[in-house]
Subunit: 202 residues, 2 copies
């Protein structure tokens, strides 16, 4: 039973990372090239910079996760906050590569690894704490990407959540959809896609 | 060993929630009353609205967490996106109350509860998935609060992370601090506070 809970924690966490990655990508897909690099004040991070920072963090924390310090000596954190010589393509390549390192690492973890300890900037972290911290960190910055993309697109923004003043309608539609699906599907089939949308309609 | 991992997961998660709550509060403390309610475009959520939404979500999800659907029939989600008749005090009271429900509920969970299933809008969620989803949701909106507060305060913003172009310096300072602490503390004492700052210097 306990082993099942831990196995479940690991697969749920991987799923959460995937759904936040997807939310960020759906938000980014809506902005123009200029908006991708636009900062709303002299100190604010652009979407490009936030993407570089998330990716730089993932590279550093998840390369050789169990065996080396999560803050790599060759990480240039300050450079993540500058995107002047980057293209949208180079930023998104770095993003993909960072997530690949995360997923490869998470997917190779065994249950017994969850009881181990890793180091981040010389401090001890349980593996569970390092995972939690990484998910919350990514989610907090992806929230910013979504906020900025929506701000730039205002009128023609395609919502990634429940539209304003549509919560009651959404709940009714969902109840109806679930009724139909319950009639259609046996309990061993795939659940409706909505359960995978971590940030949708919270 | 497995029981230890699950116990550890629960306490780490509570700690992560606490540190994101604190980050939000440190950010909010820096804005004026006008900025607290300011929306940067006609569709954008103000800090007040984001706070109401996080709190409304926590109330709904964490009241009678194990025994009732996480989307409560009396939740008025749409009203969370309007703050016209609220004061800063009323919004922060709602915020505190929401977090209290979360912490009371999380702290009362037993290890065997982590193997149970709960419902959100009629869909089944493992307890672990519901917890992960709640943490990531709160973190994503708290990232937005921090982004907005920093935007409003630009020049006199007191950073909650590592200042720009100070990453290398921060790592050196930390290494020095850890050296001194290792000399001072036995391994059974409390670790330096920095390990509790979930979003600081990622």
């Amino acid at each position: 039973m306990n082993e099942q809970i831990i196995q479940n924690y690991l697969s749920e966490t991987i799923e959460s990372f995937r759904s936040y990655k997807k939310l960020a990508e759906k938000a980014m897909a809506q902005v123009t090239g200029e908006e991708f690099f636009r900062a709303i004040d002299a100190e604010a991070n652009s979407i490009a910079v936030i993407v570089k920072h998330i990716a730089g963090n993932l590279h550093s924390r998840w390369t050789d996760f169990l065996t080396t310090d999560g803050e790599k000596p060759d990480r240039n954190r300050d450079s993540e906050f500058i995107a002047e010589s980057d293209t949208r393509e180079s930023v998104l390549e770095f993003w993909e590569a960072g997530w690949k390192i995360l997923f490869d690492s998470l997917e190779s973890l065994k249950i017994e690894d969850l009881g181990k300890t890793v180091k981040i900037r010389g401090e001890d972290y349980t593996v569970v704490k390092a995972i939690n911290r990484s998910l919350a960190h990514a989610a907090s910055h992806i929230g910013q990407i979504m906020f900025l993309a929506k701000h730039f697109r205002v009128a023609d923004w395609k919502t990634l959540s429940i539209p304003k003043n549509k919560s009651a309608e959404f709940n009714l539609d969902l109840a109806e959809k679930q009724k139909v699906e319950t009639e259609k599907l046996s309990r061993f089939e795939v659940p409706p896609e909505s359960s995978g949308q971590a940030n949708s309609g919270e």
